[in-house]
Symmetry: C2
Subunit: 286 residues, 2 copies
């Protein structure tokens, strides 16, 4: 049978590379199915396609080690129902400067996705102080303008190969350990694993209400690997919290913590328990 993995397009984006890794991993674990990729114009549309049952799987970026949470992913996961996490993977991100310029001084404009521009500010300030930075909808969008040698695009080496473009400099990200975590999403029940992700809104904004919530984990020695707040969109100062805990929802200690959490929160969404793809596997596909 053929199964489709939805991802933010077009071809050559980092999310497509993550989708290729998932495709290889799924194929290896389930040889009875074939997996094909389908690009969508936004993260929200990929997740909505899964929620509607149009496609069984989607891969979305959730967090970058420099830029933080991907708010579109978090807000859409909260808004839609039935979505579960089937796996996570951490992909190293190395940005390349693509251009037909013969010297860096010649470059007047640099196109890229705001996240990518935000990951290279020091390199850009030092090496292209004269260039205007232009946000684009993806890391590959600027590639169409490269016939003009005063223009550059920040993208990946893989995109340069795919589109037959020249890499002027790589890596240009300010921190060498730049990486992005992706989630594989489905409507089917999560498989279980070492990590559990959830999101909740508090009953009341009062001293200690977040504390009470964290106490449910600390009392049981459960580590939270991430806590991130997002606006509830109801009023300024009213927040949701996204939490990643170490442990499986089927573990009795985790169940007790989640039960405490449920009684202390206004709304609780558990996105399920899942594992992280091994780093060696991720690197073997890239």
């Amino acid at each position: 049978m053929s199964q489709t993995i939805a991802h933010l397009g077009p071809v050559g984006t980092y999310t497509e590379a993550a989708a290729l890794i998932c495709q290889a991993w799924l194929t290896q674990n389930d040889v009875s199915n074939q997996y094909q990729l389908k690009p969508y114009p936004s993260i929200a549309l990929t997740l909505e396609a899964v929620a509607r049952g149009e496609v069984p799987l989607a891969i979305v970026p959730v967090e970058n080690s420099l830029q933080g949470g991907v708010t579109m992913t978090m807000d859409t996961l909260w808004r839609l129902d039935q979505l579960q996490i089937h796996a996570a993977l951490v992909m190293p991100i190395q940005h390349a400067l693509l251009s037909h310029a013969t010297s860096l001084e010649q470059i007047k404009q640099v196109y890229s996705h705001p996240q990518a521009l935000g990951q290279c500010p020091l390199w850009l300030a030092e090496n292209l102080p004269q260039a205007e930075l232009i946000p684009a909808n993806s890391t590959t969008e600027g590639i169409q303008y490269l016939s003009n040698p005063t223009i550059a695009a920040i993208s990946s080496q893989r995109a340069a190969q795919l589109y037959g473009e020249t890499v002027v400099a790589c890596p240009i990200n300010d921190h060498q350990d730049n990486c992005t975590r992706f989630l594989l999403i489905s409507r089917e029940a999560a498989p279980g694993g070492c990590f559990t992700s959830l999101a909740l809104s508090l009953k009341a904004n009062q001293p200690g209400s977040l504390l009470q919530l964290l106490q449910a984990f600390a009392d049981r020695g459960i580590n939270l690997s991430r806590i991130e707040s997002r606006p509830s969109k109801r009023s300024m100062g009213d927040y949701l919290f996204f939490l990643d805990m170490e442990g499986d929802t089927r573990d009795p200690l985790a169940q007790a913590a989640l039960s405490d959490l449920k009684s202390n929160s206004e709304m609780l969404k558990v996105f399920g328990s899942y594992d992280l793809l091994p780093d060696e596997f991720v690197r073997s596909v890239l």
Copy 2:
């Protein structure tokens, strides 16, 4: 004497409107000084100008009620030293669609800052399903293309007046209580007030380390009005926390909480205590 307030430009942006409100407030409270505005091309550059002593004041957006924290502001406040918060203000945000189109069907491209595009997704999906959304560096950048009637820009009614452009629809933001909080920043010691902002990195990522930190406030009945994590940029899963507490650093209870916090954190930055400008004053200037 003449004092300069740095802000993200150009003329017509929401940050410039916030700077005008601060200018009116400062002038009212200190008639011996005159205050003039100076636009900068990025939030980081406005804060760096204050840190270097080039200008005494800067106004920066820190949080939107729909889109959440302004990461550029938070990351730059953490990176630079000596910056203190002198006041905060909450400004209502109403987005307008500017275009020369004679019907919505005619519009093929919509330019705006990614934050503004992110505040109108439902309105855009319903009313301009055919249009491509193009991110820009500011809410006014797209105005230069409006002589082409297939192009629209999302900006403010004030920008439409300033640039002599036509408003096709307003408000177009999905939530009517859309607002942004701004901070007035200076190198001088903060004046004191009802709110204190701080940021810290944890000593160790272990069960209960964030809990211990929140306990310092809850034990003393101090409410945290905001907690937001940001990546430390050292490695995936290592975070900073930005906290807003209700209270003044000169209050003995707050001092005790901050002392606890200092011993439990690797690095603690206190941005000072300050007041929120009254809502009536903000509305009277707009």
